[in-house]
Amino acid sequence: MLHIFCPHCGELRSEEEFHAKGQAHIPRPLDPTACTDAEWGEYLFFRDNPRGIHHELWVHSAGCRKYFNATRHTVTYEILETYKIGEKPSVTAAGTAEKKASDQGVTA
């Protein structure tokens, strides 16, 4: 069983207290009426399905009942960090690619 850190409660809690709520960082168009059907459809229905690092929305449904974001590796299921809504993730796919490259001695 996984332990997930709830940034609101400030401690590790059992996985069963949480629910995943899909991809994070999807801003609602500020003026929906000005959207084309394609743009609105993109916003409503289309989600990323990466192999690797993914930023997701989770909710601590049995605890504080608040939403937060989690960065999860979709292959290993490792939860690399959790952070509050409105904050920026510190672990990103671009960041890890860079690190990997520098670890291998490749300079950008």
Binding site: H8, A62, R65, K66
Partner: protein, 210 residues
């Protein structure tokens, strides 16, 4: 908009009130349980439960609550109490205030007055939930059987309160004193939890206190 609108006495003095565990007949069961009970259950029934929401970072809100209740807003996963009144953290912007039966209307009005003009919410949820107090040396064993949350004193000292999974359902566990725990349960789950607690505490000996 004024915070003083649409507030009324929800517990008329003349009305007959039944707690969610009325049907269990706890009064009749009191004193009939095991003589050396490891677990003693008491329903703290018909208390005033108020859900308070507001901005914890706003000094005017924290100050208003302190002025009205004489209690500081508790930080995450804790509860503060003074006499029969307790204030518990539920979420970053939500607290549960439990006051003696019958005083919730007056307390709500006092709070609304102190928080006048602020963006807040106070909801009387007294009818929706109840408190079960568990005392005795074996309570922790019963909790360990029922929840995956770590109830060891090093992780769960007195004064802490967490919402978690319990017996395949959900509730709030409050550790109010050494060997004294409270379960905050939904009205509709009260019968289920009562049956569960009878079963879970059977091996330790169960007594009922009215």
């Amino acid at each position: 908009m004024s915070n003083l609108i649409n507030v009324y006495q929800q517990r008329p003095a003349a009305a007959h009130a039944e707690s969610p565990l009325f049907h269990a007949g706890l009064e009749q069961l009191a004193g009939k349980g095991s003589a050396r009970a490891g677990v003693t259950v008491r329903e703290k029934k018909l208390l005033g439960h108020l859900t308070l929401r507001g901005d914890a970072k706003d000094p005017a809100f924290a100050g208003g609550v302190h002025k009205a209740l004489g209690l500081e807003l508790p930080v995450a996963l804790t509860l503060v109490a003074a006499g029969d009144t307790s204030l518990q953290w539920l979420a970053p912007d939500e607290w549960l205030l439990i006051v003696p039966s019958g005083s919730e209307f007056a307390v709500e009005q006092k709070l609304r007055e102190a928080l006048e003009g602020q963006h807040i919410s106070i909801v009387n949820v007294s009818g929706g939930q109840t408190l079960l107090e568990l005392t005795g040396p074996k309570v922790r064993e019963v909790l360990m059987k029922s929840t995956s949350y770590d109830v060891h004193p090093s992780n769960f000292p007195a004064g802490k309160a967490v919402g978690t999974h319990f017996a395949k359902s959900q509730l709030v566990i409050r550790h109010t004193a050494e060997d004294t725990w409270e379960l905050l349960i939904r009205r509709s789950f009260s019968d289920y939890f009562w049956l569960w607690l009878q079963d879970a505490s059977a091996e330790f000996g169960l007594a009922i206190k009215a």
